[in-house]
Amino acid sequence: MASTEIARQAGEGARAVPLSGHVGFDSMPDQLVNKSVNHGFCFNILCVGETGLGKSTLMDTLFNTKFEGEPTQHNQPGVTLKSNTYELQESNVRLKLTVVNTVGFGDQINKEDSYKSIVEFIDAQFEAYLQEELKIKRTLHSYHDTRIHACLYFIAPTGHSLKSLDLVTMKKLDSKVNIIPIIAKSDAISKSELAKFKIKITSELVSNGVQIYQFPTDDESVAEINSTMNSHLPFAVVGSTEEVKIGNKMVKARQYPWGTVQVENENHCDFVKLREMLIRVNMEDLREQTHTRHYELYRRCKLEEMGFKDTDPDSKPFSLQETYEAKRNEFMGELQKKEEEMRQMFVQRVKEKEAELKEAEKELHEKFDRLKKLHQDEKKKLEEKKKSLDDELNTFKQKKTAAELLQNQAQQAGGSTTLKRDKERKN
């Protein structure tokens, strides 16, 4: 019996004991499957490619249905992502499918930032999941997972090589999402050109270090088919929702004057291979890779950015509580420091202002002291003047009284003289 992960994990700590009858735990996988089917599955595809490469048509063809949406024009100012969610059912399996389309990719004159909105979108889905996972009260098992499980990268069928926009974008996305490159509208390429084209693309991807998704070969039941398919990458696809009568069957095809391209004919294109790999065989693996690889990478980077570590300098593992507590203490310390700083600043200002005002007060008093002095001086002068006036007055009075006295005397004398004179006259 093949070794399982659990068996490896058990290692020395567990002994293997034989069973003497049928216990029944071999129903565990069925129990798990039943639960999953009851719960429903979800799958999210991102289609990246220039406008007009047939992304929407391919989705319609893959899922045998007409998803909505108008074909977009080429005059978008930037790259936006539009996502639509559909509930599909096949037999007893319910699938919540989300298709995300890049609108306006490759239409701008300057395409340097084209990849940014795509990366942001993918990161935003990771972030939403991370936030949910970090909540105190969380409901992970009923969370609608919006993380992108597969990215179909549509390569234009030039027949020569990858465009630099393609390389740049895929390089930015390969650590965030499972990239499956496909050659779109491949009915424009002849068979011989196609083989060369595929080789060129693969070698360019390798030489630029772009990690595209490899179909897993570790499970024996699917290892063979997966490794064969790996060698057919990138898949050259043709999409069509129109049906044409071939023989006595209606098949999906594109009709040209020179012949009919049948979508599901493996000689004509790799559509069937894509469907096999993407949906029938590896859908679960794509979801698992997204969760255990891409999401973990994002989470790790995000937590490290926020300052979380697994071990302290002495290599002792932190418990979650310690980490949170440490963060919290740091945080509180910061806040307190800020408060202190602000208070200090105010104290400083108050001091300065007080000093200013004191200065002003001092000046004022000095000013008025000066004025007072001036007054005093003036008053003094005034007093002096007054005094001198009084002196003059006095002198004058004295003079006057003296003069009057004299006058009186003179008058008296004069009076007697006049009397004498009068007397003399009379005589």
Binding site: F25, Q31, R94, D285, S319, L335
Partner: protein
């Protein structure tokens, strides 16, 4: 492996899409099946009960193996002074499926004279497994985490025939929110069916009275499954018998207990509920037990633990408001909470700044006003003094003026008088001159 169906596709509500033709995601369950078998399964089962209730025998019977044997004795054979919690791990394989089974037992439980707190080691053990999982889940670098949490606890009730003992009640009440409890009546072959019925009824009544939450079997829409669940519920607590020996009965080799009066067969549904237990525990509900542990018991533990962390380091006195806030906002992670606290703090600081600014401005205004007032006052006084002085000046001026006028008058008067005198003298002189 199930074949993929080609057509006959139904649609669902919401964005309904009609799928015509084969897409292939009906194969998803097979993919899940494949992956799960490749990974293997794990399960941790805890058995609790006093010594001698047949716990080890039951485990051996359940898993059809000698988990407990002479080399690895069961809990009752290990005489302990205090209650220990011990685990044994075995790896069993069946039909390509690997199961890592951990049996946790509690030798010494309920055996002492004073059994107060004998559940403590058990709760500590369960909590420590939760803690391990929480820490593993919270690491920055995470790897495939082994799930060692206790998924199910089989509680053995002694077949006294009367009801639950206080220890039973206490233990179950302390653990029902940490682990899935399935109560069992041990050594059911010591009771007649009627006694057993009575006993079971009594126990279920007491369980209800004490509000003990035993494991709830999930409701489903499937009729068959519901019938099964009904049957299990009707038989709770399951009366079990275990045996390590195989006896021949009517040509069949069965596990059973040989008595002089007959053989009590373990797997006979009329003799005991063993088959019900095994089917439920292993064949139908093993997955659900794990899910309930993960989604319910573990999440409870986790949210309590993380809520405690965010309360830490926070002053209880000034935080009445904050406590209620976090209670209503517990849909957040501690980090988000810190973010919000940071925002609050920024707002608080702004407000504080504004207030301080206001106070500052006001004080400055006051001071300036005072200064201006005193300046005005001084100015006024200065003006007044000036006016005063000027008035005095004027007065003085007038006085002088008056004086000058008077003086001038008087002087002119004097002059006139003088002139008059002179004139009169001259006249007299002239007169005298004339006379002669």
């Amino acid at each position: 492996m199930r074949p993929g169906k080609r057509s006959g596709l139904r649609v669902l509500n919401g964005q309904q899409k009609n799928l015509e033709g084969y897409v292939g995601f009906a194969n998803l369950p097979n993919q899940v099946y494949r992956k799960s078998v490749k990974r293997g399964f794990e399960f941790t089962l805890m058995v609790v009960g006093e010594s001698g209730l047949g716990k080890s025998t039951l485990i051996n019977s359940l898993f059809l193996t000698d988990l407990y044997s002479a080399d690895y004795p069961g809990p009752s054979h290990r005489i302990k002074k205090t209650v220990q919690v011990e685990q044994s791990k075995v790896l069993i394989k069946e039909g390509g499926v690997h199961l890592l089974l951990t049996i946790v037992d509690t030798p010494g439980f309920g055996d002492a004279v004073d059994n107060s707190n004998c559940w403590q080691p058990v709760t500590d053990y369960i909590d420590s497994k939760f803690e391990d999982y929480l820490n593993a889940e919270s690491r920055v670098n995470r790897r495939q985490m082994p799930d060692n949490r206790v998924h199910c606890c089989l509680y053995f009730i002694a077949p006294s025939g009367h009801g639950l003992k206080p220890l039973d009640v206490e233990f179950m009440r302390r653990l029902h929110e940490k682990v899935n409890i399935i109560p069992l009546v041990a050594k059911a072959d010591t009771m007649t069916p009627e006694e057993c019925q009575q006993f079971k009824k009594q126990i279920m009544k007491e369980i209800l009275e004490h509000k003990i939450k035993i494991y709830e079997f999930p409701e489903t829409n499937e009729v068959e499954e519901m019938k099964l669940v009904r049957k299990i519920k009707d038989h709770l607590p399951l009366a079990v018998v275990g045996s390590n020996t195989i006896i021949e009965v009517n040509g069949k080799r069965v596990r059973g207990r040989q008595y002089p009066w007959g053989v009590a067969e373990v797997e006979n549904g009329e003799h005991c509920d063993f088959t019900i237990l095994r089917n439920m525990l292993i064949r139908t509900h093993m997955r659900d037990l794990k899910d309930v542990t993960n989604n319910s018991h573990y999440e409870n533990y986790r949210s309590k633990k993380l809520a405690a962390v965010t309360y830490n380091g926070v002053d209880n006195n000034k935080n009445k408001g904050q406590l209620t806030k976090t209670e209503t906002d517990d849909g957040m992670s501690p980090l988000a909470q810190m973010e919000e606290e940071r925002r609050d703090h920024v707002a608080k600081m702004k407000k504080m700044e504004q207030e301080m600014e206001q106070v500052f401005e006001m004080k400055v205004k006051e001071k300036l006003q005072k200064l201006r007032d005193s300046e005005a006052e001084l100015q006024r006084r200065h003006e007044q003094m000036k006016k005063n002085l000027e008035a005095q000046h004027k007065e003085l001026e007038e006085k002088r003026h008056q004086f000058e006028e008077e003086k001038a008058n008087w002087e002119t008067q004097q002059k006139i008088l003088e002139q008059q005198k002179l004139d009169s003298r001259t006249l007299e002189k002239n007169k005298k001159k004339k006379i002669f």
